[in-house]
């Protein structure tokens, strides 16, 4: 039984982490209201909300989000997919590792953003260039963690599987893949975070739609509220991707005590 006072105390405890952000918002709003803060530097929070509302009503906002998310996910699918397949191959077959791993480790050290000039020369400033950059950035996080995951599967379990008549695909499905999954998902989460970083840069190069296009456009017209809205949208989408990855972890790794608990 909890008394009303206890309940109040628990409620207060839940609110405590939000106290500072709320205070900042209030101070921010007030300073904008009294004119201490120029709207050209930082618009008031209410203005950002309003800008979001108008853009949502006109439908423009959704178009931009759809285009950006589509780009990000397509790039992630291509780069992550390739990383997964190559990681599985190099992790599982010594010969493939010898043939490919050194090359991949060398390419890994190139920061994806350093490729921008080359990418523009190759693909122009079209959609392909953005997809290439995102795929490239995402690839290595998935590749390395997949490779590592496969290699660190407990050899005692593999031996057990073999002695129980498993080999080939059944051994892979029952023992190796589930054993590597925790590591692969770490790679996926890392890649999802990186995906947004690359997306932001890629969309500022040149774009006809997308959140990056929206903010660059707003900058031209000094619409700081829309610029801020764009930044907040990136943060929101990033958080959403992370939550999705966490849900996957909780679903696929529920046998592992570390993930099953909330």
């Amino acid at each position: 039984m909890t008394s009303p006072i206890d309940a109040l105390r628990n409620g207060a405890k839940g609110l405590l982490p939000w106290l500072v952000p709320i205070a900042i918002l209030v101070v921010w709003e007030l300073s904008a209201l009294f004119g201490w803060l120029s709207t050209r530097i930082l618009p008031e929070p209410l203005a950002v909300l309003k800008a979001g509302w108008t853009l949502a009503l006109s439908g423009e906002l959704w178009t931009h989000i759809r285009v950006s998310a589509g780009r990000a996910l397509a790039g992630f699918a291509i780069g992550g997919g390739l990383g997964l397949v190559l990681g599985l191959l190099t992790g599982s077959f010594r010969k493939v590792e010898i043939a490919l791993d050194t090359t991949l480790q060398m390419i890994r050290n190139i920061p994806p953003l350093a490729l921008i000039p080359l990418v523009i020369l190759w693909f122009g400033i079209d959609e392909v260039a953005k997809l290439f950059l995102i795929s490239f950035g995402v690839f290595f996080a998935v590749y390395i963690n997949t490779f590592h995951g496969i290699r660190s599967v407990d050899p005692a379990l593999i031996e057990m599987g073999r002695s129980y008549g498993l080999s080939g695909w059944p051994l892979y499905r029952e023992v190796i893949l589930p054993g590597a999954l925790a590591s692969i998902l770490v790679g996926v989460r890392y890649a999802l975070g990186f995906m947004w970083v690359i997306l932001i840069v890629a969309e500022t190069i040149s774009a006809q739609a997308g959140i990056g296009y929206m903010t660059m456009n707003a900058r031209e017209f000094l619409q700081t509220d829309v610029v801020l809205l764009g930044i907040l949208l990136y943060a929101l989408l990033g958080k959403l991707a992370d939550v999705a990855a966490r849900l996957l972890e909780r679903r696929w790794l529920r046998w592992n005590g570390a993930y099953s608990a909330a």
């Binding site: 005692a156 057990m160 002695s163 129980y164 008549g165 029952e174 589930p178 999954l181 046998w255 592992n256």
Partner: protein, 327 residues
């Protein structure tokens, strides 16, 4: 189906062709790099026999088991099951390891059913039956991480049994369990061995476990069998029983002698005088290094009598040797 009468079950098992395998090992040699682990080992085990192998760590007993399971290649010699090559019986040999080696991402029942062919419902029914045999039917859908060490080994046992093995290899499966769980598991293994009538080969450090379970106890020293003795005690065996204890101490003593063959920390000599005391007795031994006076508990002396003039070996355990400077 639960059969309470072991004899009946045995007859049934032999009839449906799942009785024990006859094992024949000739001149088995195994090298790991330069190091020779097995030195031409010969062993035959008749179908359905329960054999226990004892020996110190690194004597080659686990290596022998792995060879039988086909986990390592042979360096020389031959292994035959029922008079044929080992390879043709791959699916009739199962091994239980010291750790349960359950897949943590599969539920208990999925672990038991690992590698079992057949339709989903069929496999599930078989796995449930095997789990019931080891007394874990109610834990079927849990994750292995929720089970205790003893329960995990039960699941591993069920996983081995479901394939109806004709040779079950047990590589110290109870080594990590507490004393009570161990004895429970020994009873369970004995009961299941009665029911299924497979040939069993148990590697263990625990002499009492070997005496409790085996028809025959082998001692492996430096890759050879140096002691092979039948255990002629009625089952089920009680740990406290006099004949049980006598056999246990005989095997233990034999194991200790192996220890004494280490050429360090020992003196050869002849007994020259025995002074019997109430609690401690004194045995004087003439050695090349001079007269050695050994204080021995009188009870030990009455259990293992010594005579004047007997050739003896005085052995010091390395962890009990103290060297003090003479001043």
């Amino acid at each position: 189906m639960q059969i309470d009468n072991p004899e009946l079950a045995q007859v049934g098992a032999v009839r449906d062709g799942s009785g024990g395998l006859d094992v024949e090992i000739r001149g088995l040699v195994k090298y790991f790099g330069e190091r020779q682990v097995l030195h031409g080992l010969d062993l035959s085990i008749p179908a359905g026999e329960f054999v226990a192998i004892v020996g110190r760590s690194g004597c080659g007993k686990s290596t022998l088991l792995r060879q039988l399971a086909g986990l390592d290649s042979l360096s020389g010699g031959a292994i035959g099951f029922d008079g044929k090559a080992r390879e043709t019986f791959g699916d009739q040999v199962r091994i239980m390891y010291q750790e349960a080696r359950l897949l943590p991402w599969r539920t208990v029942i999925q672990n038991v059913a690992l590698g079992l062919p057949g339709s989903r419902a069929q496999v599930r029914a078989q796995a449930e039956e095997a789990l019931a045999q080891v007394g874990l039917a109610d834990r079927a859908d849990e994750w292995p991480s929720r089970l205790s060490g003893g329960q995990r080994q039960r699941v591993a046992l069920a996983r081995a049994l479901i394939h109806r093995p004709r040779l079950l290899l047990l590589d110290e499966p109870l080594g990590a369990l507490d004393a009570l769980t161990r004895i429970e598991m020994q009873r369970l293994i004995e009961q299941i061995w009665h029911q299924h009538a497979f040939t069993a080969l148990l590697v263990t450090h625990d002499v009492a476990e070997a005496v409790a379970l085996a028809d025959r106890i082998l001692l492996i020293e430096e890759g050879r069998i140096t002691f092979d003795e039948p255990v002629d005690l009625p089952r089920p065996r009680e740990h406290g029983e006099a004949r049980f204890a006598a056999l246990e101490s005989r095997v233990l003593k034999r194991l200790m002698t192996v220890d004494a063959l280490n050429p360090r920390n020992q003196l050869r000599g002849r007994v020259t005088e025995i002074v019997i005391g109430k609690v401690l007795s004194e045995v004087l031994v003439m050695t090349p290094a001079g007269v050695l006076s050994a204080a021995v508990p009188t009870s030990t002396l009455s259990e293992f009598p010594l005579e004047l003039g007997a050739d003896v070996l005085a052995v010091f355990k390395s962890n009990q040797v103290v060297l003090a400077t003479s001043d």
